[in-house]
């Protein structure tokens, strides 16, 4: 597989030149694309005879704000897609950083691969990344009326609201959480 990834990265460099930065990471081909080129690159990855990535396997968001020992120098939010070519038996990972940290937004690929529909809804729900051009960008995993984006690094693990049934009001009500957040094992780096 590593050799395959090397040759794929070379093909990617030949096809897109400076517009993508391609690398091999642990035997897997991986490219970074700018927002402006995102849709065009993705469409070519699906259609060009050299690539033929027929399947979009996964789309997920990443919040880089707490990455590593030193403060993260780049943009905060990225969207990572995994593509699979059935006919050529290859995989590639495409990463695209959202240009704005406060209002992250990235074009939707749901018209290129229909499977992106729910994956993008999930990334929107959990990270608050807005996919422009998505026909139906609603929350998907969290509760109706949920506030916030739970997989962002500044969202507490214990959440913000706890729900209980109120007998007097005869309905479920939400209160601020009473759990004190605690760390059993700190996050540490090797010395």
């Amino acid at each position: 597989m590593p050799k395959l990834a090397e040759s794929l990265v070379q093909t990617l460099r030949d096809a897109f030149g400076e517009r993508v930065s391609a690398r091999v990471c642990l035997g897997e081909a991986s490219i970074d694309v700018a927002v402006g080129d995102y849709l065009e690159v993705m469409e070519r990855l699906r259609d060009a005879p050299d690539f033929r990535f027929e399947q979009l396997i996964d789309v997920c968001g990443i919040d880089y704000s707490a990455y590593g020992k030193t403060p993260w120098p780049g943009r905060r939010f990225a969207v990572v897609s995994h593509l699979l070519s059935i006919s050529k038996n290859r995989r590639v990972r495409v990463r695209c950083f959202a240009p704005d940290d406060v209002f992250p937004s990235i074009p939707s690929v749901s018209s290129i691969w229909n499977s992106a529909d729910w994956f993008e809804r999930e990334a929107f729900d959990l990270f608050g990344i807005v996919f422009t051009g998505h026909a139906n960008l609603r929350r998907i995993l969290t509760d109706y009326g949920f506030d916030g984006h739970p997989l962002r690094k500044d969202f507490p693990v214990s959440g913000k609201v706890e729900v209980r049934y109120d007998a007097e009001l005869a309905r479920v009500v939400g209160d601020p959480v009473s759990i004190q957040p605690r760390v059993t094992t700190p996050r540490v780096f090797p010395e």
Binding site: M1, D58, C60, V80, N89, F119, T142, V157, F189
Partner: protein, 417 residues
């Protein structure tokens, strides 16, 4: 002329055919489905968020709780991701054990599926037969891991322990007299491998029995044939994988095309459908059970002949054997380190996918070098399959919705995560 309007029907989350906590808002024109909008997330536990807050090792049992019907396969994808990031090698015997249990898991999953799908469609007795065989296989789970569902048996670097030499036996009770006891314990006198061998010998006949009940059954065919057809191109567009993709005529099985562990040394076939309807998906899964039985047999034969270590001796990530921990200072330090701060995973990102019974189950792990994952994304096959239900049910009757949900083989543990 009175004016007719479509009406909306709330299907679930409390519905026996919804396979858990699926809520679907169906738009109906009479009895014909015009649109279906699934509302998911009622089983959302935030596994990915929890994993970021735990050491790598602590998230392993959480993987069992994703697709709780095929727990060992979930662990497998997670372990493969960690092993790839750490660059550790897994001993060959552990690889065979993993394949053995992956295939047992596949049979377990398909048995549950055939039982509950039968139940949904009206073949009530299927679930009883399927659970009879599941019982034996769950005993195998219990023999190796001590638990029947949430096994936590695989470890990064191998498996938790070697296969046991004895099988647990039934004890005498008010309901089990000596004669019944002898019959129940007949296959359990030897080792686990003997028991599995015995199971493999009788299971193909049991599959024949299921097929006698269903395959040519007129009612079964009326309910399944040409229901929920997905063409080859649509299946690719919709991100289908596993039996769903193969039923639509795409010959794609990660065990063949991107082999992991020892699948490239084993002999098995990959069934492919032609129409892409519910009936094809049924046929593909039944044939997969037969192929898995063959794989299990090959693994049992190999494991009998080849003893050896079942876990890597990599000091950085693998817990030392108990005796070493008790008798040497190095072993004790290693043990203490691994259970206090855990192991550090080098910076990098990896996507590892396996052929899970339901499709492609992937783990995308990002590490920044710490003792906890920076980001862990779980790609569950059922998520993509359920997303297509609106398209699959369009134009069908409301009763077909139940058939189609059944043929997707969805489990909410993995969809909601």
């Amino acid at each position: 002329m009175p004016e007719f309007r479509n009406y909306h029907l709330n299907f679930g989350p409390q519905h026996p055919a919804a396979h858990g906590v699926l809520r679907m808002v169906l738009e109906l024109d009479g009895e014909v489905v015009v649109g279906a909008d699934p509302h998911i997330g009622m089983l959302h536990r935030g596994t990915e968020k929890l994993a970021e807050d735990k050491k790598w090792m602590q998230s392993l049992p959480y993987m069992d709780r994703l697709d709780y019907v095929s727990s060992m396969c979930n662990e497998h994808a997670y372990c493969l991701a960690i092993e790839k990031l750490l660059g550790i090698d897994v001993p060959i015997r552990a690889r065979y054990i993993r394949v053995l249990f992956d295939e047992i898991t596949r049979i377990l999953n398909h048995l549950l599926w055939i039982g509950s799908h039968g139940l949904d469609v009206g073949a009530m007795s299927m679930v009883l037969y399927a659970f009879r065989e599941r019982e034996d296989l769950l005993d195998c789970y219990e023999a190796v891991s001590g638990t029947r569902v949430h096994a936590a048996y695989y470890r990064p670097g191998g498996v938790y322990r070697d296969l046991p030499d004895t099988m647990p036996k039934y004890a005498e009770s008010k309901w089990k007299n000596a004669e019944k006891l002898d019959r129940l314990n007949a296959a359990r006198s030897g080792s686990l491998l003997d028991f599995i061998d015995d199971f493999v010998a009788r299971f193909p006949k049991r599959i024949d029995e299921y097929e006698t009940l269903l395959t040519e059954n007129r009612i079964w065919k009326q309910r399944l044939v040409n229901v929920g057809v997905v063409s080859r191109t649509r299946a690719l567009q919709l991100g289908f994988s596993g039996p769903m993709l193969r039923a639509s005529g795409v010959e794609w099985d990660l065990r063949k095309t991107q082999p992991y562990e020892v699948y490239d040394r084993l002999d098995f076939g990959v069934p492919v459908g032609s129409v892409g309807d519910c009936y094809d998906r049924y046929l593909v899964r039944v044939e997969e059970m037969r192929q898995s039985t063959r794989l299990v047999k090959q693994c049992v034969d190999w494991l009998r002949a080849n003893p050896g270590p079942v876990a890597s001796d990599d000091c950085k990530a693998v817990v030392p054997p108990r005796a070493e921990m008790k008798s040497t200072i190095e072993g004790m330090i290693r043990h203490f380190k691994l259970f206090s701060e855990g192991f550090f995973v080098p910076e990098g990102e990896v996507y590892s996918a396996i052929e899970h019974p339901k499709g492609e189950f992937g783990v995308y792990a990002v590490s920044d070098g710490a003792n906890k994952p920076y980001r862990l994304k779980i790609r569950s096959p059922g998520f993509a399959h359920l997303a297509a239900i609106g398209e699959m049910t369009q134009g069908h009757m409301i009763a077909d919705v139940v058939t189609i949900i059944g043929s997707l083989d969805i489990v909410f543990g993995e969809i909601d995560r």
